[in-house]
């Protein structure tokens, strides 16, 4: 089978106003099966790895994969894990992650993974098998209307009825998934279509009539923003995942340094500016630093970059940054003034907008403001009480940060350990914290770490998970062992669903309703060993560093470290539900 040689649209945004419609290229007369077209199209999109799980309607596709070793297929244990792995791969590499699953249950198992990626704007391609077209709608075996099920959590979706359309659909899907505000795109593949022979058609020029994401910010608005920055007395940058995953970390750092304006990031924005940068105030929001939350509350100019004013960031909306004028740079027009009204909106790709803004800004005289921030930083640092007899969870994360020099890709699950990681890991590089920020998906961490390690074998990958969340997708340990994926898993084991327990302690008089896990947790060391992974249990603070050092040396597969930590440690500072950012509580008293 000869591969079609086509001119790929190098820069799809080259001619956004072109009226010329792309026309199909038919470079060869030979027909191919739908399965062959699919795999060729994936390879032509530059896909090197897919995560998948076979099934009845995928037989034709898996037969092609059997003959195509140039496409690496990672067999996962559960489709949810596969989807998270593709998501982790996408976040770590910047390319779209691809997951291939069968119809019915295979497809519905991806739903949590798709929703996770959708909330965090991660480019994913979900390929779902479907029953033969003639049987669709008849409640056939393993049939599910997956397009219907996933409609609210996909950026777009396709049902491919005509095999000749498949090449174009795959091409469009990658374009839609990776441009504008990225997101998951699902392609439903009826079995008979995949088996049929047809032509592999591609568009010469990518042109989708209803889809023209704005790349360049409006210049007039950028001038207005620069003017506001130059006049500000108490400005602060509020930076989100758009900078991190929009590859604009360098551009942002340049702007921050030229203007000498302090910066706070969201969870998703961590790493966009080095954690140890003198102008970095740390994370803001529900578990943000005192300095960051006060800076946002007291500032006279809030410059939001690639962030979306999520409720975990803003706290009570009518108490959020009330004294400030607001600039908002975002690629998604719908994000602007959705939750918080902004004064100077700039719709565009932060990577394009930031350099233009940098050119126009000066260094406003804000020394009094910087002094005030320094005094807040000094008076209210992140802190915890170290203990010699019991491992404090924050201590483990500090040590992981030290031993990896802040250079690792750190993948978290969801809960207390996630917030401690955000607070205590010193990120040096962008695309380094992979975490389910929007959806808050427990079970995300480990499979996503597997995907990240597959995509970035050049970087150390640490997964930090809780004992609760890890068990939701722990079967992917088998995947990591099988493919010798060197993920280091640190289980922050406090025998509780810690974040819920913290709320029960603070707001429900310690009625720990169904959050205690000790009596149901497995022996994580034995569990890991049964999969063939190396595992350690760490019970004393002095064992933490030596174990981490040992784990760093293991490069031919996963390492599981079961850190038995203080049971009732809490994440502080904390903005209680319904409170404003400046109403945070710093400790139990």
């Amino acid at each position: 089978m000869e591969r079609a040689i086509v001119n790929k649209a190098e820069n799809p945004d080259e001619k956004p106003n072109s009226t010329e419609t792309g026309f199909p290229v038919q470079p060869e007369n030979e027909k191919m099966s739908g399965g062959e077209i699919l795999i060729c199209a994936l390879l032509d999109e530059g896909v090197d790895t897919i995560f998948g799980f076979p099934g009845g309607v995928l037989l034709h596709i898996y037969d092609v994969i059997y003959h195509k070793p140039e496409l690496r297929h990672i067999l996962i244990k559960h489709e949810q894990g596969g989807t998270h792995a593709a998501d982790g791969y996408a976040r770590a590499t910047g390319k779209a992650g691809v997951v291939l699953v069968t119809s019915g249950p295979g497809a519905t198992n991806t739903v949590t993974g798709i929703a996770t990626a959708f909330m965090d704007s991660i480019p994913l391609i979900i390929l779902t098998g479907q029953v033969p077209f003639a049987m669709m709608g008849n409640d056939a075996f393993q049939e599910a209307d997956i397009i219907g099920v996933t409609r609210p959590i996909t950026k777009h979706s396709y049902l491919v009825r005509d095999v000749n359309e498949l090449g174009r659909v795959v091409q469009e899907a990658f374009h839609i998934a990776t441009t504008g505000k990225p997101g998951p795109v699902l392609i439903d593949l009826p079995k008979d279509m995949v088996a049929q022979k047809g032509y592999y058609n591609r568009l010469k020029k990518m042109k989708i009539r209803g889809y023209n994401p704005v790349k360049n910010g409006h210049f007039h608005q950028i001038v207005k923003a620069a003017d506001a920055i130059n006049k500000a007395k108490k400005p602060v940058f509020y930076v989100g995942g758009g900078v991190n995953f929009g590859n604009a970390s360098a551009e942002l750092t340049e702007l921050v340094e030229k203007s000498n304006i302090p910066v706070t990031t969201t969870l998703m924005g961590l790493g966009a500016v080095r954690s140890d940068h003198p102008l970095n105030l740390g994370m803001l929001g529900m578990h943000g630093t005192w300095a960051a939350n006060m800076a946002v509350s007291e500032c006279d100019l809030l410059i939001a970059v690639g962030s979306r004013f999520d409720d975990r960031v803003t706290g009570r909306l009518n108490g959020f940054s009330v004294k400030s004028k607001k600039i908002h740079i975002d690629i998604d027009p719908a994000s602007i003034s959705k939750n918080v009204t902004v004064d100077i909106p700039i719709v565009g790709d932060v990577k394009n907008v930031l350099p233009k803004l940098t050119e126009l800004v000066e260094r406003p005289d804000i020394s009094a403001w910087l002094q005030k921030l320094d005094s807040w930083k000094e008076a209210h640092p992140l802190k915890y009480a170290h203990r010699d007899d019991t491992i404090m969870p924050q201590y483990v994360i500090e040590k992981i940060s030290e031993i990896t020099n802040g250079d690792a890709i750190v993948v978290t699950d969801v809960g207390q350990h996630q917030m401690w990681t955000a607070q205590f890991y010193k990120f040096n590089r962008p695309r380094s914290l992979l975490s389910s920020g929007g959806l808050g998906t427990m079970g995300y961490g480990f499979p996503a770490a597997v995907g990240a390690a597959v995509g970035r074998p050049d970087r150390k990958v640490f997964c930090i998970a809780g004992d609760g969340g890890f068990q939701m997708t722990s079967m992917e340990l088998a995947t990591a062992v099988k493919y010798k994926i060197p993920v280091k898993l640190a289980i922050i084991n406090n025998s509780f669903l810690g974040m819920v327990r913290q709320w029960q302690q603070l707001f429900f008089d310690k009625r720990y309703s169904h959050t205690y896990l000790k009596d149901s947790n497995p022996d994580f060391v034995k569990l890991a060993e049964s999969y063939g992974a190396t595992a350690f249990r760490i019970q004393r603070p002095r064992e933490v560093v030596p174990t981490l050092q040992k784990a760093m040396e293991i490069k031919n597969g996963p390492v599981v470290m079961d850190f038995i930590v203080a049971k009732e440690a809490n994440v502080f500072p904390m903005v209680p539900a319904g409170a404003a950012l400046y109403e945070m509580i710093e400790d139990e008293n």
Binding site: I147, P152, P333, A334
Partner: protein, 162 residues
């Protein structure tokens, strides 16, 4: 306040449910919705009327615009536009009240398109307000069934200066 929004989109099996899903998923109101083919092949135009404050309407138009198959979204509310709705109204009508009903029909410039010993079916076009007004005038006679299309609307082309 009430808004009339015109949406042009590529007609595919997925688009209509994506639009409907947007409204249900984000809790937006739809008062009426009507659609049919537009001037070009493969394109459809939908007119929907909805209610909400400025922020909600802005979200509705932005979220609609985000859908890949949607080509154009225009909020006609603050522009001059023409709007029509078609209603079929079946009224119970014994011979004794027929004349009275026919008078109302003629006032509203409607048409009678079906007649039986006990009923009249009336075809009426006009703005939603006109349709509502005629229905309330006919109510005392006993309305058996109504079928309404919902508003369809187009921007009015200006003649001369504003």
């Amino acid at each position: 306040m009430k808004h009339t929004i015109s949406v042009t989109f590529e007609h595919s099996f997925n688009t209509l449910s994506r639009i409907a899903g947007l409204f249900s998923g984000r809790g937006f109101n739809i008062d009426s919705i009507s659609l049919g083919t537009a001037e070009k092949e493969g394109l459809a135009r939908m007119t929907l009327t909805t209610r909400g404050d400025e922020r909600i309407i802005e979200q509705i138009t932005k979220q609609l615009n985000k859908l890949i198959n949607i080509i154009k979204v225009v909020d006609l509310t603050f522009e001059p536009f023409v709007e029509r709705e078609l209603a079929l109204i079946k009224v119970s009508a014994s011979p004794s009240v027929r004349m009275e009903i026919m008078q109302i029909v003629s006032i509203f410039r409607a048409k009678i398109i079906d007649i039986s010993p006990k009923s009249l079916t009336i075809e009426l076009t006009g703005s939603a307000d006109k349709v509502n007004a005629s229905i309330s005038m006919l109510k005392p006679f006993g309305i058996i069934e109504t079928a309404r299309t919902g508003s369809v609307a187009l921007r009015r082309e200006f003649q001369g200066k504003t």
